[in-house]
């Protein structure tokens, strides 16, 4: 250590210089467009410009818009909180015994992109042609209820909240399950030995002790929900329920010239909502004390569910059906129909939509190719950059520059994808960069959008490596660069692989930024999906969603299997 410092003083370490340069560049890539758009919109010509506020006040139905957003996402987060926490408790602390489901649940949003799931549920529960509606009404007439109208309507408040819940539940589950896993089980066992029954323990010990995880799961659901664009654009649009994220994207792409000012101010509203969620979290957590006193005893006596075991299993399995199997099945069926109909006839099956997708240079196949390309490039670059940045921050803890870079990499999570999208358009699309509709602007935007997740996984992976191993290498005389290449990077590999997978899936399946930044010349998957949706061409849409889902899940499953084997 002292030698490393001494040598650093003698000559600046080349590797640290390079990693500082990369870190600074990325920080600039995050801060510059945000600063630019705020300046450009509000302080053009160096004085405060009130025009955007005037434009905003002329927007219709702002109150309803805000209320819709809060009700839909608030309700969905609350439901997701209950379901996700219950599932986490069931699979971590009881004898429900469904390890497969426990592994699957958190990755469902990665396996099936929300947009595909949302479309799948439209196919299932649209009032007229929805499969479930038609099956339910034939069932009803079969058992003698006569002709009934559509029972389900996905284009409604309950429908919208329902689809939100599907996609918010895994976030809660992940957080609470991790909290339970880290909770010393002897805390609960001590309560049992004190004579408390399982449900009493849940109330008196487990819930208070994992409260931080539950709260942060709920806040994560809120934040994800506010920024989610795919679900409300599909489900809410038809139902006449507009939320903030949809209005923002539409202000940018549905009018010419884009209403950047309005979009930015609405984006600020989302930032405020996210900020309030964080404040809520802090306020709740400050009220209690949660320091867990660590222990070694890591086996726990599972709560015996007894007669409740099967109901619990059925409920958990239903979630899997609802969130993945059913919508995928609907997509699969429609993708081989000539047109979307609830009457499934096997004579008319056709693979022409798939064939069209793969025919060279169609709009859709170009989009898919671009997305894979951007996914690979974005994930690889993103993880490498995140690794370098986390290494740089860890080696320079306490320095002001490192602190600034650390804060900058967290910024995109706080200001939401929507604002970043707006910022990128106004900073890079026009002069002097002229990157409008290019793959370059998309790649840069993806890097910035997902840098928070990337650096989170990278620094978690780095924390696992342990300071001693790095120091031992430096003491052994290795330079910072070869320490990074030979010790740190290989040991971080499994964490980085997981991060790469997540980044790939998020990038290739991105909708929000793609909707704003991609163009007809350089389409990407998310852009194609929205285009097909707007045209109402369901079978090609279903085929495209199937292919995208298959592609993403294959990558996830292959890399997951690969890392598990290596562990």
């Amino acid at each position: 250590m002292s030698r490393a410092i001494a040598s650093a003083r003698r000559a600046p370490d080349g590797f640290l210089v390079i990693s500082a340069a990369i870190s600074v560049f990325v920080a600039a890539l995050i801060i510059y467009p945000l600063g630019w758009v705020i300046f450009d919109v509000l302080f053009a010509d160096w004085r405060f410009d009130s025009a955007p506020f005037v434009a905003l006040s002329q927007e219709s139905g702002l109150g309803a818009l805000l209320l819709n957003t809060i009700i839909a996402i608030g309700a969905a987060s609350a439901v997701a909180l209950v379901i996700g926490s219950t599932f986490a408790w069931l699979s971590e602390r009881t004898d429900v015994g469904m390890p497969f489901l426990g592994k699957m649940l958190p990755v469902i949003p990665l396996l099936i992109p929300p947009i595909a799931g949302a479309i799948g549920w439209v196919l299932l529960a649209a009032p007229r042609a929805g499969f479930l509606n038609s099956w339910l009404s034939s069932l009803a007439s079969l058992v003698g209820f006569g002709q009934v109208g559509p029972l389900l309507n996905i284009f409604s408040w309950p429908g919208l909240i329902f689809v939100y819940v599907i996609y918010l539940t895994p976030h809660v589950y992940l957080s609470v399950a991790a909290g339970l896993r880290n909770l010393d089980p002897s805390l609960e066992e001590a309560a049992r030995m004190s004579g408390a029954r399982p449900l009493t323990i849940l109330r008196d010990v487990t819930l208070p002790a994992v409260a931080p995880a539950v709260v942060s799961g709920g806040v994560l659901a809120l934040i994800t929900g506010f920024a989610l664009f795919s679900v409300p654009v599909i489900v809410g649009g038809q139902g006449g329920i507009e939320v903030l994220s949809v209005r923002i994207v539409h202000s940018m792409i549905a009018s010419y010239p884009p209403k950047t000012g309005v979009a930015l101010l609405l984006g600020m509203a989302i930032v405020v909502l996210i900020g309030s969620s964080w404040m809520l979290q802090r306020a709740i957590l400050r009220a209690g004390r949660f320091a867990t006193i660590g222990g070694r005893g890591m086996r726990s006596a599972k709560v015996k569910l007894g007669a409740w075991r099967w109901p619990a299993r059925i409920v958990m399995t239903s979630y899997l059906l609802i969130s993945s199997v059913l919508p995928l099945a609907a997509l699969a069926i429609v993708s081989v129909q000539p047109f979307w109909t609830a009457n499934i006839s096997f004579q008319h099956l056709t693979f022409k939509h798939y064939a069209a997708l793969f025919s060279s240079n169609s709009f859709a196949s170009t989009g898919l190719r671009n997305s894979v390309l951007l996914g690979v490039a974005g994930a690889t670059l993103g993880m490498l950059i995140a690794a370098v940045i986390s290494f740089y921050i860890a080696r320079n803890r306490g320095s002001r520059l490192a602190g600034l870079i650390d804060a900058a990499t967290k910024l995109p999570a706080a200001v939401s994808h929507l604002v970043i999208g707006i910022a990128f358009i106004s900073a890079f699309a026009g002069a002097p960069f002229h990157l409008h509709g290019t793959l370059a602007i998309l790649l840069m935007a993806y890097l910035v959008l997902y840098i928070p997740q990337a650096s989170l996984t990278a620094s978690a992976a780095l924390a696992q490596v342990g300071k001693e191993l790095v120091e031992a290498s430096l003491i052994a005389g290795a330079s910072t660069a070869s320490t990074f290449m030979r010790v740190t990077l290989p040991l971080m590999m499994s964490g980085l692989t997981a991060g790469w997978t997540m980044l790939f899936v998020l990038t290739a399946g991105d909708i929000t930024a793609s909707a704003m930044l991609a163009g007809n010349r350089n389409p990407v998957a998310g852009f194609v999906i929205l285009d097909l949706w707007t045209n109402g061409s369901f079978p090609p849409l279903a085929a495209f969603a199937m292919i995208l889902t298959a592609l993403l899940s294959t990558v996830v499953i292959v890399t997951m299997a690969w890392t598990w084997r290596r562990l």
Partner: protein, 371 residues
């Protein structure tokens, strides 16, 4: 609940674990154990021998595969009857290794919890908690949270909580392993005083022999899921039942040899030569392999040749001053001996010395091939 009933009665209890991609592990292998009120039984054994598993079976936190457990005459587990009373209805106190204090409850709330669960009234609970706090001399901590008090204090709170309901049976899983040596010694004495005063039966798991010796009324030496010997600390130390116990308890020198008898009397042929032993001290017939075990403190070393018949010349290889005694490693040809002896100045390394021991201090066991 008659007085004649043992406090704890374990009959041929068995529990195996299925290892991932491996053979089953018999963590508890047909163990029987009976404890009376006031008994302090310490389970002592190497890591992984099944002590914790046995304890957790008694607590009800682990489901055994077969056997029977009864507490104060009431059966709480019986595989034949398919009976298994859950832990919350067994009325056992337990002190966990990690203390397991609930971080969101004050010290007083932690201690009062078992009473609350037992349905005690507010006033009764408060009075009892106050008594426990006084007894542990931590009254001033009542309104602190566990995160705000020291390790030794946490330990006292955990003990107070386990004792609060006044159960007749208390389980301890290495409760002192997380506190430093000084505090450990102190808490050990407190615990002992408490147990003798309140008279509960204690089943206590530890690795630490000194701890076991000082606490136990009886020590149960466990290895591979089996209780090899159970007896007072003196019995277990002085007259170990087999080689495993002898080698696990205390420090031991081992001399392997063969039983011979050339007419002058039975003896063991060892690398140090022929050592005569009494017929009764020999566990097996002429020609069989035996191991002679001796305690380091039973050996004597001197610079001059002693007059006693059995003495061997050797050379000091290592020597350390430990305060109460000196510790030596002595080479007798190929054989290495550990010897503890009092003396103000340890002998220097390389000294040529004579080692002697009385034949009564050599205990012969049938050799186990694994050893």
């Amino acid at each position: 609940m008659t007085a004649a009933q043992p406090q704890l009665d374990i009959e041929v209890l068995a529990k195996s674990f299925h290892r991932n991609k491996g053979r089953d592990v018999r963590a508890v292998d047909n163990v029987s154990l009976r404890m009376e009120k006031g008994d302090f039984v310490v389970l002592l054994g190497p890591s992984g021998c099944g002590k914790t598993t046995l304890l957790r079976c008694v607590a009800g936190l682990e489901s055994p595969d077969s056997g029977r457990i009864s507490l104060g005459g009431e059966t709480v587990y019986d595989s034949a009857l398919g009976l298994e009373i859950p832990p919350e209805r067994r009325n056992i106190g337990m002190v966990f290794q990690s203390y397991a204090l609930w971080p969101h409850m004050t010290v007083a709330a932690n201690i009062g919890y078992p009473l609350k669960m037992a349905g005690a009234g507010r006033a009764e609970t408060d009075a009892r908690v106050k008594r426990m706090l006084d007894m542990m001399r931590i009254s001033e901590l009542a309104n602190q949270y566990p995160g705000q008090i020291s390790g030794g204090q946490q330990q006292r709170v955990a003990l107070a909580r386990a004792l609060a309901r006044g159960d007749d049976m208390i389980l301890f899983d290495e409760p002192l392993s997380n506190v430093d040596a000084k505090v450990r010694e102190h808490l050990r004495l407190e615990l002992l005083a408490m147990q003798r005063e309140l008279g509960f039966a204690a089943l206590y798991v530890t690795h630490d022999q000194e701890e076991a010796m000082s606490l136990a009324t009886r020590i149960a030496v466990v290895a591979d899921g089996v209780i090899h010997q159970i007896g007072t600390p003196q019995e277990v130390y002085r007259t170990p039942r087999n080689l495993k116990v002898a080698k696990f308890i205390g420090s031991a020198n081992q001399l392997d040899g063969t039983v011979v008898n050339d007419g002058t009397g039975p003896a063991v042929e060892t690398p140090l030569g022929r050592i005569a032993l009494k017929e009764a001290a020999l566990p097996s017939a002429v020609g069989s392999r035996v191991s002679l075990i001796s305690r380091p403190e039973r050996w004597r070393i001197s610079m001059d040749r002693p007059h006693a018949a059995a003495a061997w010349p050797g050379k000091v290889r290592a020597s350390a001053f430990l305060g109460p005694y000196n510790q030596y490693l002595v080479d007798l040809g190929e054989t290495e001996l550990q010897i503890w002896q009092q003396g103000s100045h340890p002998l220097p390394i390389g000294s040529e010395v004579w080692c002697q021991i009385s034949a009564d201090d050599l205990t012969a066991f049938v050799s186990d091939s694994a050893a």
